[in-house]
């Protein structure tokens, strides 16, 4: 977007050691997630093999430790929570958005006590703060 992005792009394109990111169509239809897991499994197995020459019992322990993590990941995939909501919730409760949140909550309290106003403006400020704080984090999570 900025001029510096363009310059770094040009430098990256000109340097011969830069990486080319052309994603090949994955043969595995399930996607990148399981593929990464299998890769990490292979890696841990090789590490385990090298260790097991000295101490076989430790390697087994590590393997048993790995298994519950994988199960957790699968559970997360089943639930599938939107990262935007979680990130914005974090931002809304962060110190950065504390003033906006404070104003919004005060307004909500006033309305609940019978004040004839709406909290749209306060809501706007809070939402603006939360989305702005979450935007770069969200883009690093999304594909």
């Amino acid at each position: 977007m900025g001029i510096w992005d363009t310059i770094t792009d040009l430098v990256e394109a000109a340097t011969p050691w830069s990486t080319v990111e052309a994603e090949a169509p994955s043969s595995n239809p399930a996607g990148a997630g399981p593929a990464k897991e299998s890769a990490s499994e292979v890696a841990t197995e090789t590490v385990d093999d090298s260790k097991s020459k000295d101490d076989s019992s430790e390697g087994k322990e590590e393997e048993t430790e790995d298994e519950p993590e994988e199960e957790e990941e699968e559970e997360e995939e089943e639930e599938l929570k939107d990262p935007k909501e979680t990130l914005e919730e974090e931002c809304r409760n962060s110190k950065q958005c504390a003033p906006a949140k404070h104003h919004f909550e005060e307004c909500v309290e006033r309305v609940e006590n019978g004040s004839k106003e709406d909290c749209v403006e306060e809501f706007f400020h809070l939402t603006h703060c939360a989305t702005q704080c979450a935007a770069p984090k969200l883009w690093s999570v999304l594909k």
């Binding site: 994955s26 239809p29 939107d82 106003e117 709406d118 939402t127």
Partner: protein, 324 residues
């Protein structure tokens, strides 16, 4: 200017030095000139009066018409969308065509129920979003009118690559009737047609709060969305987690689907973007080469002038003496 003021000051000094002579001269020559003994107030009366009139007229205008009335509340304006770091909007980045493919899937399975994409033919998708065979198969799913046959009847034929995407409704009136009076806009150019572009579309799709803020008035049949001007939008939230199942296994969260479909809509609005950026880089490359060439040519052409040497041989002193 300086010279003139200097002259004047000398004249003033001269007047001061022999004032008596001057006064007698003036009295003898004329009596129509301004009185030098006038008070400073009388001298400045015109300036003061004109200034008073100027200030008064401004005040009168302000009294009559007053300040501009900005009768616009934040709710009517709508929340301005946050700037998201879109990769495809950087100067030298192309569209992520896997994202376009996912976005087209979202459009087809979700948006196409109400929104047309009437300016995009199937042939535009070939090589960008779909392969030729996929695009042909997709086109053949719909029926289009043929040319009139020998009897003058118009028959139906399966779609071809050159056909445009079919609209969900026959016309705008049908669309309004089916949607409670609200017209779902055509999405072909929607990214260009809205302030904020991609940011607005993404924010609108993901920005539906669980419940409107306290005290906000939402008309029946409308939904609260802070990004829509007026905050009451007829379109309800449509994107929910795992609404579509991506063929490449990407987790279909709400924000992921919104991001993909926004990028797809941006592609639909400016399908020439990738080529445009490449052409722009070509222009920069060619221009820089030509500039370098012009620098060399200039130096070559000016070489004789720049490298010349003007020598001055002074006549020798001995010869001069001899001449004298």
């Amino acid at each position: 200017m300086l010279a003139r003021s200097c002259l004047r000051s000398t004249r003033a000094f001269a007047g001061a030095r022999n004032g008596a002579i001057n006064v007698s001269k003036r009295a003898a020559s004329s009596s129509s000139g301004p009185n030098p003994e006038a008070s400073p107030l009388r001298l400045n009366i015109a300036a003061a009066a004109s200034t008073a009139v100027a200030v008064g007229s401004i005040a009168w205008y302000y009294h009559l018409y007053g300040p501009t009335a900005h009768a616009m509340t934040p709710a009517e304006e709508g929340l301005h969308p946050t700037q998201y770091p879109w990769v495809h909007q950087q100067f030298l980045k192309s569209f992520d065509h896997q994202a376009l493919r996912r976005g087209f899937q979202v459009y087809r399975e979700v948006c196409a129920a109400c929104h047309s994409l009437s300016r995009v033919p199937y042939r535009a998708l070939v090589g960008q979003v779909l392969t030729v065979d996929e695009a042909k198969a997709l086109a053949e799913e719909n029926e289009y009118d043929t040319e009139p046959n020998d009897q003058g009847d118009i028959e139906k034929r399966p779609g071809k690559l050159s056909d445009y995407m079919p609209a969900p409704y026959k016309n705008d009136e049908a669309a309004r009737a089916a949607n409670n009076g609200a017209l779902p806009p055509d999405l072909s150019l929607i990214v260009k047609a809205r302030h904020g572009g991609c940011n607005y579309i993404f924010s609108l799709l993901t920005g539906y709060p669980d419940e409107p803020p306290a005290g906000a008035h939402v008309q029946s049949g409308l939904n609260f969305n802070p990004y829509f001007p007026g905050t009451g939008i007829a379109m309800a939230r449509v994107l929910f987690d795992e609404l579509v199942e991506y063929e490449d296994g990407t987790p279909a969260t709400t924000s992921q689907m919104a991001k993909d479909v926004t990028e797809f809509l941006n592609w639909a609005a400016e399908p020439e973007m990738d080529d445009r950026k490449r052409t722009g880089l070509k222009v920069l490359v060619v221009t820089s080469v030509l500039f370098a060439l012009s620098v060399y040519v200039k130096r070559y052409k000016w070489a004789w002038l720049k490298s010349r040497k003007i020598a001055y041989d002074p006549p020798k002193a001995e010869n001069q003496h001899h001449r004298l």
